[in-house]
C-alpha cells in the first residue's frame, strides 16, 4: 500500500485557480486534517481524488492505481461529502443495502447499530432528514464502509455537540480496532486537533503546511496568567493570538521556549492549532 499520491494537480474554474500544482501524499493508516479557509480548495481536492471532478493537469494515484475513471482504485476509498449524492427518495435502510452491494466490506450490522446509537430513523427518506441527521446518515456509511481510505468533507455539519463528540469517539474506536486512513476536512479545528496525526493546510489552492501535528505544534506554545504577568512575558515574543477573560490572559506564541525564563504565575500549554491556523491563513 502506497497511499494516495497527488502530483502537481492543478484545477481551475473559469478564471479561478482552485488548486495550483498541489503535490502531497496521504499515507496508509494515518489520520489527516485537511484544513483551509472557505474556498481554499479542500473540497476540490477531495473531489478530484474521488473522480468526481477532473484535474486540468497532474496525477492522482491510489495504491499505485490511477484514480481517474478507475473502478478498482475508487473501490479503495469513500468520500463522505458535504453535498448529498444519494437519491433523496431513498430511505436510509435502502441506502445501507445498496452500499453493501457496492462495497463488499460494508458492515450492515454495524451501520444499523450506529443508527440506533445516533437515534437515526432508518425508515425515513433521505429528503426528510434534517441537516444534522443527513450528516449522521453519511457518517454512519463512512464509518461502516471499511475501505482503506475514508475521506470526510465537513462531517459534523449541523451536528449538535453531543453528536459531534460521539462521532469523534466512534472514529477513534474504529481507527483503533481496524486502522485506516482518515482525511478530515473541517472548520472546527479545536475539536479535531487531538485526533490528528498530520495536518495539511491549504491556502488559495496551494499547500501551506504539510507536517505532523506534533511537529507543527512544537513551533510554539501558549501562556496563561494574569494580564500583567503575561504582558511582561510576551513583550519580546512573536504573539499570534491573545484572549482575555476576567483578569486572566492567554497568549499564543511562535518560537521555542526556554523553560528557565518562565516566571512564576505563568502556565505553559501546547500551541493552539486553531490560533496557528488563523495566523497562517490570514490574508494580511
Amino acid at each position: 500500500m502506497n497511499g494516495i499520491e497527488i502530483n502537481n494537480v492543478t484545477k481551475t474554474f473559469g478564471d479561478t485557480l482552485a488548486l495550483n500544482q498541489v503535490s502531497l501524499t496521504f499515507e496508509p493508516h494515518k489520520i489527516y486534517g485537511l484544513l483551509g479557509r472557505n474556498g481554499a480548495g479542500k473540497s476540490t481536492l477531495l473531489n478530484i481524488i474521488t473522480n468526481r471532478l477532473f484535474a486540468d493537469s497532474g496525477q492522482v494515484t491510489i495504491d499505485d492505481l490511477s484514480s481517474v475513471e478507475n473502478d478498482m482504485a475508487q473501490g479503495l476509498l469513500y468520500l463522505m461529502s458535504e453535498k448529498n449524492l444519494y437519491p433523496e427518495s431513498m430511505t436510509c435502510n435502502e441506502a445501507f443495502k445498496w452500499t453493501k452491494q457496492f462495497f463488499k466490506d460494508f458492515d450492515l450490522d454495524y451501520a444499523l447499530n450506529l443508527a440506533k446509537q445516533f437515534k437515526l430513523n432508518t425508515k425515513k427518506k433521505i429528503r426528510s432528514l434534517s441537516t444534522g441527521y443527513t450528516s449522521i446518515f453519511k457518517i454512519i456509511i463512512a464509518l461502516s464502509v471499511n475501505t482503506p481510505y475514508v475521506l470526510f468533507d465537513e462531517p459534523v455539519l449541523g451536528l449538535d455537540a453531543n453528536h459531534r463528540e460521539m462521532f469523534y469517539r466512534l472514529l477513534i474506536e474504529k481507527y483503533s480496532d481496524n486502522p485506516f486512513t482518515a482525511i478530515i476536512s473541517t472548520h472546527l479545528i479545536d475539536e479535531i486537533a487531538n485526533l490528528l496525526e498530520y495536518v495539511m493546510i491549504i491556502k488559495n489552492g496551494e499547500i501551506l503546511v504539510n507536517e505532523s501535528c506534533e511537529t507543527l505544534l512544537s513551533n510554539g506554545y501558549s501562556v496563561t496568567g494574569t494580564i500583567k504577568h503575561v504582558d511582561t512575558f510576551i513583550a519580546d515574543k512573536e504573539v499570534i493570538g491573545e484572549d482575555v477573560l476576567g483578569g486572566l490572559k492567554t497568549a499564543t506564541i511562535i518560537g521555542s521556549l526556554n523553560k528557565s525564563t518562565v516566571p512564576e504565575g505563568i502556565e505553559i500549554t501546547n500551541l493552539d492549532l486553531q490560533k496557528l491556523f488563523i495566523k497562517l491563513t490570514n490574508e494580511e
Binding site: N51, D71, Q74, L79, S81, L85, P87, W98, T99, F102
Partner: protein
C-alpha cells in the same frame, strides 16, 4: 460485483414505473372488450372498435424513462466509486434489457389483441408494425413472422426512444441555467413557430422534405421495416456516441 450492482440499481430504478405502466396498458386492453360488451350502440349498429398502435405507448414511456435516467444515477454511481464509463456501459445494458422486456410485453399485447379481435366482437387490433408498413395491396404480416419482425422492430424502436431521452437529459445536465432556458425556448420557437412560418411561405417544401426523409429512412413506402430498423439503429449509435462525449468529462455540479 460493483458493475453488477450499478446494472441492478439502474434497472431497479425503473421497476415501479414499468410495473405501473404495464398494469395501465393491460387495464386499457381489458376495458375495450368490456366497453363494447356493455355499449348498446355498437351491438345494435354493428360498428367496430379499433385498437391501433398501442405499442407506441411503450416507446413514449421509455423515452420518458431515458429522460429520468441520468442525474440521480450519475451522482449515486460517483458516490459509490463507479466510473462514468461503467455507468454508461451498464446504462446501455439496462436500455437493451428494458427494450427487450417492453417488446415482449408488446408481443403479449399483440397476442391478446388477436385473441379479442373478431368480426363478432367488433374489435380490430393492429400493431404499430402493421400500421406503419401495411397498406392496401401489400401482403400483410401474419403468424410467426409478424411476431418476430414486430419484436425486432419494437426492440430497436424502444432502444432509440431511450437513447434520445438519455441524450437530452445528459445534454441538459451539462448546460448551465441560461443555456438550458435558451435551448428549450429556442427549440420550441424554431420547431413550432419559425419553421412552420417559413414552410408556409415556401409552399410547404420543408415539410415535404422532412416527410420524404422520414419515409425513405423508415422504409415506409418500400414497406420494409428492416430499413426502419437499420435507420433507428444508426440513430441510436450516433446518439449514444454523442451522449458518451458529453458524459466522459462531466463532473459533480454544485
Amino acid at each position: 460485483m460493483k458493475l453488477n450492482a450499478i446494472y441492478k440499481y439502474q434497472l431497479v430504478d425503473h421497476r415501479n414505473a414499468v410495473l405501473i405502466f404495464c398494469a395501465v396498458i393491460l387495464a386499457v386492453m381489458a376495458l375495450v372488450p368490456m366497453e363494447i360488451t356493455f355499449s348498446s350502440d355498437i351491438l345494435t349498429t354493428n360498428q367496430s372498435s379499433q385498437i391501433a398502435g398501442l405499442d407506441m405507448a411503450p416507446a413514449v414511456f421509455l423515452f420518458i424513462c431515458g429522460l429520468n435516467a441520468f442525474k440521480e444515477n450519475f451522482l449515486f454511481a460517483l458516490q459509490n466509486g463507479i466510473s462514468r464509463k461503467s455507468l454508461f456501459v451498464n446504462r446501455i445494458s439496462v436500455a437493451v434489457t428494458l427494450a427487450v422486456a417492453m417488446a415482449l410485453f408488446s408481443l403479449l399485447l399483440l397476442a391478446l389483441g388477436k385473441l379479442i379481435e373478431s368480426p363478432a366482437s367488433g374489435i380490430a387490433y393492429s400493431s404499430l408494425l402493421s400500421m406503419i408498413y401495411q397498406s392496401t395491396g401489400t401482403v400483410p404480416f401474419s403468424g410467426l413472422s409478424e411476431y418476430l419482425v414486430s419484436f425486432l422492430f419494437l426492440t430497436v424502436l424502444f432502444i432509440a426512444a431511450q437513447t434520445l431521452g438519455y441524450f437530452i437529459t445528459v445534454a441538459l445536465y451539462r448546460m448551465n441555467k441560461k443555456q438550458k432556458i435558451s435551448y428549450i425556448v429556442g427549440f420550441y420557437i424554431v420547431v413550432f413557430v419559425v419553421l412552420p412560418i417559413i414552410d408556409m411561405f415556401i409552399s410547404g417544401q420543408i415539410s415535404t422534405i422532412l416527410l420524404k426523409f422520414l419515409d425513405i429512412s423508415m422504409g415506409i413506402s418500400a414497406h420494409n421495416p428492416f430499413i426502419g430498423m437499420f435507420s433507428l439503429l444508426i440513430f441510436s449509435i450516433i446518439a449514444t456516441g454523442l451522449t458518451w462525449i458529453l458524459i466522459r468529462k462531466t463532473g459533480v455540479k454544485n
